[in-house]
């Protein structure tokens, strides 16, 4: 299927998307939230309670001079390295766990433990043992995301259709082809699910590690705002970071997941 779009179709595509964004009922939610927020600031008597205008000021401060983007870059480097490691290790472990029952039982308790430990513990332990620097966040992120990846990959391996495998051995299909055409497509949706869940965990742990033991990055900036008692500062940085994460999740990860899912019958998902 060619992705080339003619000029005329391109224009109407843009018009359609614009129309869907502007004439969307979801703006109602945003407007209501801002109105309620403004009313709350009048009612609540706490000094530090942020006003919409105050948050806008903080947003402007954060974006000025590329401050946000340079810190975002630092955070993203840590997240990429850490999550890449976690994805690799998690996939290997998941493959092992899915194929041999021995490995499944071997890793089981650690996976369960790893899934339940709060990101805070990973972050603090990594900083205490590895100090300040790149090693701490990368290790914490890798260890925290590993269990999620492993669990999903394991499910993927277990779901490989045995009948297809038997058919391949009957028709004497060579191993490379077997892997490329049967195993990899079966695994890809699960790996994508692992990437999506693991990525969420990864950036949360990344920010936590930065809060306690880094001098750059989103987490550090939040710590700084906390230190100067600026609630609107934290809200502003959180909003900016949240938007970036949502863009990555909805703009990159979910479309990717749907692409790899397309051979599968539709499944209802809750969360």
């Amino acid at each position: 299927m060619s992705l080339a779009v003619g000029k005329l179709e391109g224009v109407s595509l843009i018009a359609q998307t614009l129309r869907r964004i502007v004439f969307n009922r979801r703006w109602v939610t945003l407007v209501v939230v801002i109105i309620v927020w403004q009313l709350l600031t009048l009612l609540i008597d706490i000094d530090l309670f942020p006003t919409p205008m105050g948050v806008l000021d903080s947003l402007e401060e954060a974006l000025r001079g590329g401050l946000f983007f340079s810190n975002l870059g630092d955070s993203m480097i840590r997240i990429s390295l850490g999550f890449g490691l976690g994805l690799l290790a998690g996939t290997v472990i998941g493959l092992l766990m899915g194929s041999r029952e021995f490995w499944n039982r071997f890793f089981q308790d650690f996976i369960v433990l790893g899934l339940s430990l709060p990101g805070l513990v990973y972050a603090l332990l990594a900083i205490m043992v590895l100090g300040i620097g790149l090693a701490a966040p990368v290790t914490a992120i890798a260890l925290a995301s590993l269990p999620f990846v492993a669990v999903n990959v394991r499910e993927g391996v277990k779901s490989v259709d045995k009948q297809l495998l038997d058919m391949c051995s009957v028709y004497r299909i060579d191993r490379t082809r077997l892997i490329r055409r049967v195993i990899v497509p079966t695994l890809m949706p699960f790996i994508m699910a692992a990437v999506r869940i693991g990525f969420t965990v990864a950036w949360k742990v990344a920010v936590l590690t930065e809060v306690f033991g880094a001098s750059t990055g989103i987490g550090y900036q939040m710590r700084y705002q906390f230190g100067i008692f600026s609630v609107r500062g934290i809200v502003a940085w959180a909003l900016l970071f949240g938007v970036v994460m949502l863009v990555i999740e909805y703009g990159v990860l979910i479309p990717l997941e749907r692409y790899f899912d397309r051979w599968r019958p539709q499944v209802e998902k809750v969360i």
């Binding site: 890793f107 709060p118 205490m128 950036w203 936590l208």
Partner: protein, 262 residues
């Protein structure tokens, strides 16, 4: 061995997990000795610390303080989440209106809520309650919404035809249908609650498990932190695996099996 207990014992002890455990302990011990044991405590040290904390019973104070905050915050989250979920499940307008709020709630890390709550409310109970409520309610809401959408329309129509009164309708049809979803929400929400509460305590409290963990961090006491994590984590996991999950399965036993990953 023929008895069930015998078989369970055999299954528990003749298990690769002990090999994994042994490997872990070995790596840990070697790392501790090779690196400075000030930085990496030996497993033995952590074990000793663990029992020291448990033996003085003073840990109960901190555990209790944390539990109060968790329960209060979680109750608030359940309330808001259930209301939101019911609204979202029954009327499309509410679904569209609230959906972005729920998605946004799911996206923001608990850290942000914790920091803001501590700055606004200091050490008052409102800090953890608010932070927990805002972080957990999306999980409850999403599950309750699925539960409402899954209500069997045939049963509801039948109830209308037989003119069953509202109270009976709610008691015998709506609530049993919703319970498994509510419990799924409880399980997820509780899991989030205690993690966020620990964060709130780390930043702004003078008692509780989170504060103990913070104190250990400030004192570079890896063994202290590990010990507290195991004690608290152990208690929470116990609740999750031996109380909440069985409850969820019990109330869900009329349902056809659904595969869940995480």
């Amino acid at each position: 061995m023929e008895s069930r207990l015998g078989r369970w014992l055999a299954g528990f002890f003749w298990h690769p997990r002990w090999i994994a455990f042994a490997v872990l302990l070995t790596i840990w011990q070697i790392t501790a000795v090779v690196r400075n044991t000030r930085v990496v405590p030996t497993p033995g040290r952590v074990w000793v610390e663990f029992w020291q904390i448990l033996s003085t019973f003073s840990f109960v104070d901190d555990l209790w303080a944390s539990m109060i905050r968790i329960v209060a915050g979680f109750a608030a989250a359940m309330l808001i989440g259930t209301i939101a979920g019911v609204l979202m499940g029954s009327r499309r307008a509410w679904d569209e209106f609230l959906r972005d709020l729920v998605v946004f709630g799911l996206a923001l890390p608990g850290l942000v809520y914790a920091l803001i709550a501590v700055m606004l409310f200091g050490q008052a109970l409102w800090a953890p309650v608010l932070a927990i409520m805002l972080t957990s309610y999306p999980f409850v809401a999403v599950n309750v919404r699925e539960g409402v959408k899954a209500l069997d329309k045939n049963l509801l129509d039948m109830a209308k035809i037989y003119r069953i009164n509202r109270w009976d309708l709610v008691r015998r049809i709506v609530i049993p249908s919703l319970l498994p979803f509510i419990f799924a929400g409880i399980r997820l929400g509780f899991s989030i609650s205690w993690k966020v509460n620990t964060l709130v305590e780390v930043f702004g409290s003078t008692n509780g498990v989170g504060w103990q963990i913070r104190a250990s961090f400030d004192a570079y006491s890896v063994h202290g932190m590990l010990a507290w994590t195991f004690i608290f984590g152990g208690a929470m996991l116990f609740i999750e695996y031996y109380i909440l999950s069985p409850a969820e399965r019990y109330f869900g036993r009329w349902r056809p099996k659904i595969d869940q990953v995480v």
